[in-house]
């Protein structure tokens, strides 16, 4: 599996799981489907970016740091849209987004091949 593909898989899975945690916030629980889709897409975007970086740079620290910042920026974009209750959940979205990004970046560095494997 190539590194961008590892990034997509890790990003989708971790983004989905991160989105599931919204269930613990009653105010947004009825929007969980949209949150799950949005969070998964956010994770995939971070994963793709981290995957392409991992093809060029072989450093778990740089990969995790880069993906953490990418996750933070995307989470900031998401948080800048108010929830149904009119509130902005900056901290609740950005902080986990930052850590999730770091995990995706680290996984992308550690697993996967640099070039596509021939069948």
């Amino acid at each position: 599996m190539t590194k961008p593909l590892v990034g997509v898989a890790a990003g989708a899975a971790l983004g989905f799981l991160d989105g599931l945690s919204a269930w613990f916030t009653p105010a947004v629980r009825n929007e969980i489907a949209g949150i799950l889709i949005g969070s998964s897409i956010k994770g995939i975007m971070v994963g793709v970016a981290a995957g392409f970086l991992a093809r060029r740079v072989n450093s778990p620290a740089i990969g995790a740091g880069f993906a953490a910042i990418a996750g933070l920026l995307l989470a900031w974009l998401v948080a800048s849209f108010p929830a149904a209750d009119g509130r902005h959940y900056y901290l609740e979205i950005m902080l986990p987004g930052f850590v999730t990004g770091a995990i995706i970046g680290f996984i992308t560095q550690k697993y996967g091949t640099h070039t596509p494997t021939k069948a």
Partner: protein, 281 residues
């Protein structure tokens, strides 16, 4: 008439035993003595550097064998020939560093010793691929250079081996790579020490099995198991318990586990510490 003192006598005996090298080399002092000859530290007048000058009574087979093996962990041979007294000599790189047994004593952890061991395995594997069996692998025949390079010395043809390292089936003309695998196993056991990691001791025990059939089929297979240990993967020679497997998994994935723990902590902090502000619960 005045009698000669002990030290003078020793010096005379030493001088009498010293080789008479070609003009290019000036023999300085004896630095090693083994079953196949005596090694001197010598000065090369042409290239202006110190070299190892080995003298042996036998033919040039050892020099030819070593010269045929071009490998980063096999000392390169620069020159060879016959001395006026009929003995043969060859000149090789002088390795500036400790022997493996001295290096092992100075290394507090097992990892540097295993990395040195791996380099020896590479050299032996290469020699086997060229049809050469060492037959006398032991820490005294391994030197560790200043930059961490490792050299396996003494590719003496017709060597019987050293008790303790010799395979039970080994004879003077053994040409089976299994005898080297046995010696590597003993060396690995000595490097790891009695309290060494269990998987490494299991690898050493398998390599040093009394029966050749119980050993690794090749040095490559032995190296692969050592590599797997260094990469914190399970090794074929050792069946680990569930707690050992869990410990190895945690050790191998410590950063990832820490990141997941950080995520859980962040989520827990957001959940428990900010209930009023976020409408949690």
């Amino acid at each position: 008439m005045t009698g000669l003192g002990d030290s003078t006598l020793r010096r005379l005996q030493d001088a009498a035993g010293r080789p008479d090298p070609p003009l290019r080399y000036r023999v300085e002092e004896e630095i090693g003595r083994g079953g196949t000859g005596v090694v001197y530290r010598a000065w090369d007048d042409v290239l202006e550097r110190f070299v190892a000058f080995k003298v042996s009574a036998g033919p040039l087979d050892e020099a030819r064998t070593a010269a045929r093996l071009e490998h980063p962990s096999i000392v390169p041979v620069h020159d060879a020939g016959t001395l006026p007294d009929g003995r043969s000599y060859y000149v090789m790189k002088l390795v500036d560093g400790p022997r493996l047994d001295e290096f092992a004593l100075a290394s507090p952890t097992v990892a540097p010793k295993l990395r040195a061991f791996r380099k020896i395995c590479d050299a032996v594997e290469y020699a086997h691929s060229r049809g050469v069996v060492h037959r006398d692998i032991k820490p005294r025949n391994v030197m560790v250079g200043r930059f961490g390079e490792v050299f396996l010395l003494d590719w003496g043809a017709g060597v019987m081996g050293t008790p303790g390292y010799m395979a039970p089936e080994q004879t003077e003309d053994s040409n089976d790579p299994a005898v080297d695998i046995h010696a590597l196993g003993v060396m690995l056991r000595n490097l790891a020490g009695a309290g060494g990691p269990r998987p490494i001791l299991a690898i050493a025990a398998k390599a040093a099995s009394a029966a050749p059939g119980g050993r690794y089929p090749s040095v490559a297979a032995l190296s692969e198991d050592v590599d797997r240990f260094l990469d914190r993967l399970p090794v074929s020679a050792y069946r680990e318990s569930i707690p050992e497997r869990a410990r190895r998994f945690c050790s191998r994935n410590s950063v990832l586990l820490l990141l997941f723990a950080a995520y859980v902590l962040v989520r827990a902090a957001l959940y428990f510490l900010r209930p009023a502000a976020t409408g949690f619960r």
